[in-house]
């Protein structure tokens, strides 16, 4: 142990030494921005300093070659600095308008899509999936790659009514987060329990406590301490699986994909909203999930044609109403769209406000 070095508990690094010098020099002094073209932002500071940002998409999972390539391009075009956005896009800052087009040309030549600004479909916020998660129902990077291939035009153009944020999650815990359109694994069968392993692997009271509907109880199975699930109560959420891997919730056939819409975290216009279920039962069809892509593209095309400028997905549905959303998208409305979780009655229409 003596050879081990005690950590330097240095915490979050100061961003200033890493920051593009024009951003650092004008920190807190910006007064104007515009959007000259897709993938490019212009910012001006109070003293007249100007900076253009070129934004582009990545795979998020970056190999050493790609990281070094980004560094080479940043050294050549962007003063040796870059930043990453919350959705894994990269931003290069340049200080002359003339530097934009050569940079875009070179980024495109290496396969980096320039876009993701303003009224675009931005990069999909996503999780780890089969690559690194211990409880995934599907992959993450693969779904994102397949969908962004389909939505590439919407990323590099900015022709949506307002920005569109997408997310994907490999289980109902929803690490991908709230979004205008969220693609989330939905289990449809209770966990299959490997009773031989439960006693050795799981802390049973913890697992019992984890269940949102109190459907799990301790039981003796084949003479061994284990757990049993009241399958009539079980909502197949998978919350018992992380603390107790023998409670296998992932089911290659019956774990399906659901689509949710209308989530937004910005306070602009309406208050922030959670996304709502609109479709489910879609197959986990690797490697390109065509059924999921078809539904996402259908929703996007209706939204693009029908929403007013600046209406986010949720704003648009607020105006046209849910019946017309289902009508226009052709998605079936079922009993499962009617919430029965706690607080559900506040989601019912307690009025005669009905559009005809």
């Amino acid at each position: 142990m003596a050879e081990l070095r005690a950590p330097d508990e240095c915490g979050v690094p100061d961003p200033m030494p890493f920051m593009h010098p024009t951003l650092r020099d004008n920190y807190g002094k910006w007064v104007f921005h515009s959007h000259p073209k897709p993938g490019v932002l212009y910012h001006r500071a109070e003293n007249g300093a100007e900076v253009w940002t070129v934004k582009f998409g990545t795979a998020r999972q970056l190999d050493g070659y790609t990281i070094r390539l980004l560094c080479d391009l940043a050294d050549k075009h962007a003063d040796g600095h870059m930043r990453f956005t919350a959705r894994s896009n990269v931003e290069f800052m340049v200080t002359a308008e003339s530097k934009i087009d050569p940079l875009i040309k070179e980024l495109n030549s290496h396969g980096f899509p320039v876009g993701g600004t303003a009224n675009s479909v931005s990069m999909i916020s996503h999780t780890q999936g089969f690559l690194h998660c211990d409880i995934p129902g599907t992959d993450a990077s693969g779904v994102v790659k397949a969908l962004m291939d389909e939505l590439h035009e919407e990323f590099i153009k900015c022709e949506m009514p307002n920005r569109v944020k997408l997310s994907t999650s490999c289980c109902e815990i929803n690490c991908g987060g709230q979004a205008d359109i969220a693609i989330i694994m939905q289990h449809t069968k209770p966990p299959k329990i490997n009773h031989d392993l439960v006693a050795n692997v799981c802390e049973r009271p913890t697992v019992v406590a984890r269940c949102p509907v109190a459907a799990i109880r301790p039981a003796l199975v084949n003479g061994k301490p284990s757990l049993e699930v009241d399958e009539k109560k079980c909502i197949c959420c998978g919350a018992c699986f992380p603390p107790c891997p023998p409670m296998q919730i992932n089911d290659p056939e019956h774990s399906k994909i659901a689509i949710w819409v209308g989530g937004k975290n910005s306070n602009a216009r309406s208050k922030p909203t959670f996304h709502k279920l609109v479709a489910s039962g879609l197959p986990n069809n690797l490697p390109r999930w065509p059924e999921v892509a078809a539904v996402v593209k259908k929703i996007l095309s209706v939204y693009k044609a029908d929403a007013q400028p600046w209406e986010r997905m949720g704003d648009w549905i607020d105006r046209i109403g849910w019946p017309r959303f289902f009508e226009k998208t052709g998605l079936p409305f079922t009993k499962y769209h009617i919430d029965d979780w706690r607080g559900a009655r506040t989601t019912l229409n307690a009025s005669t406000h009905i559009r005809f």
């Binding site: 975290n265 306070n267 986990n284």
Partner: protein
């Protein structure tokens, strides 16, 4: 040179198409590293069987209790040997990025070099909590890799029941909407509580996020236990030249349909110049020679919409500060909850202001540590005990900005109504 690639017909299908392919990236590393050859083998198996094959475990670095995500393969043959032995251990080190995720190329190259030497070469930029994810490391290489990363001045992020890595928007570095120094707030609070990140001992995870304005670009309201969001309390600032430029470029239709009629509280009015009203709470800007746009700032909820549509023409006020919301979280266990207001406005400029928010953050973590049940998030705790108990525990006064509307049911004991009225009057007198 690494060993021969396994056949990956399903993953190969993700190499075509216009979006950058992670599979192509993995294969580049696999040309050099056996760990990546076998990682591709396991991933292809997952694609075929639709099953995951990782389990957790206990791997860490000397001195810390968290920050490494251990992954051991569960894909074993009939003799319990890993099918893909070179990727049998594939751990991730979570590393905290500089606030705002700014980098110089020397730093990124160094990360790539370290990960060539000790890991799979695959770095995720970034995870959903904002971590640099150094993915794919054997147990033996975790400590030496960490020591080199730490020597660069980077520290480990959070995992488990701990303070988690934080995020702030680009903010003051490149945005005119920024209402406070996001990076300073993030570093003040996270670095003061770093012990709770490195030695997980909280009931469950605790996340801070920092957004410079109510556009909330890092989604603090839905994704953090304590959200600090910039705002202002005086009048929206105007720039007539920019407003006229907007009008020239967009016309009256757009001004009416995109700006004025989309104001959620109908705080904006378009008037003939001659009919303009005046008052201390009104922002007025001429959009052409005939018309002025007037904003009643008492009715404005600082939603950001009109500022977003007319950048530069409308700007946040000068009396800037932050709103603090507590209790945002995702699904487990009671369903997703948003953060709700506990501090409608506080200044965040002076050293004393930062000390005040730092102290309050510590108090909230302490209250959470003492009162939350195991595996309960702050939002769930507040749902269980009620907001008022939370506020009283933190010595924060009630405020009507904390609610959508007052109680709509009579099921409450109100024996000491008169005392509470007295307190309300005292608060009013002190304001």
């Amino acid at each position: 040179m690494a060993k021969k690639l396994h056949d990956t017909p399903m993953l190969d299908q993700l190499e075509s198409g216009p979006w950058p392919s992670f599979v192509t990236g993995l294969k580049r590393e696999a040309a050099k590293k056996d760990i990546m050859v076998d990682l591709l083998g396991q991933l292809e198996t997952s694609y075929k069987t639709k099953k995951g094959y990782w389990k957790g475990g206990t791997v860490g670095v000397f001195g810390y209790g968290g920050g490494v995500i251990p992954r051991f393969t569960e894909l074993k043959d009939e003799n319990e040997n890993p099918v893909f032995p070179d990727a049998a251990e594939f751990h991730t080190l979570r590393i905290q990025p500089p606030a705002g995720m700014h980098y110089d190329t020397a730093t990124l190259r160094k990360f790539a070099d370290i990960w060539d030497k000790y890991g799979s070469g695959l770095i995720g930029l970034h995870g959903q909590s904002g971590d640099i994810m150094m993915q794919g490391c054997t147990t033996a290489n975790v400590q030496p890799a960490w020591e080199e990363i730490n020597a660069m001045g980077f520290d480990m992020g959070g995992a488990g029941p701990a303070l988690r890595t934080s995020m702030s928007c680009v903010g003051a570095a490149r945005c005119e909407m920024s209402c406070f120094d996001e990076a300073r707030a993030l570093r003040t609070i996270i670095n003061a509580n770093i012990d709770d990140m490195h030695r997980p001992a909280l009931p469950y995870k605790f996340k801070f996020k920092f957004s410079g304005c109510p556009n909330d670009c890092v989604n603090s309201i839905q994704r953090s236990d304590m959200a600090t969001i910039g705002t202002w309390r005086d009048n929206i600032q105007v720039n007539e030249q920019q407003a006229r430029d907007y009008m020239k470029g967009h016309g009256m239709d757009k001004l009416v349909n995109d700006v004025i009629s989309k104001c959620p509280t109908r705080a904006i009015t378009l008037r003939n110049k001659a009919d303009a009203v005046s008052g201390d709470s009104i922002s007025t800007v001429a959009v052409d020679d005939q018309h002025v746009m007037q904003i009643e700032n008492h009715d404005c909820v600082r939603c950001m919409h009109c500022l977003n549509v007319m950048p530069g023409a409308l700007l946040p006020g000068k009396d800037k500060g932050v709103t603090i919301l507590v209790g945002g979280k995702s699904v487990l266990k009671i369903g997703a909850t948003m953060g709700t207001v506990i501090i409608p406005f506080m200044k965040l400029e002076s050293d004393e202001d930062f000390e005040k928010i730092n102290e309050m953050s510590r108090n909230i973590i302490d209250f959470f540590a003492e009162n939350a049940l195991e595996h309960e998030r702050t939002g769930e705790m507040i749902e269980r005990i009620g907001l008022v108990n939370f506020l009283e525990g933190l010595d924060i006064d009630v405020d009507p900005n904390m609610i959508n509307h007052p109680r709509a049911n009579p099921y409450v004991r109100m024996d000491d109504w008169d005392e509470e009225v007295e307190k309300a009057n005292e608060r009013k007198a002190a304001a």
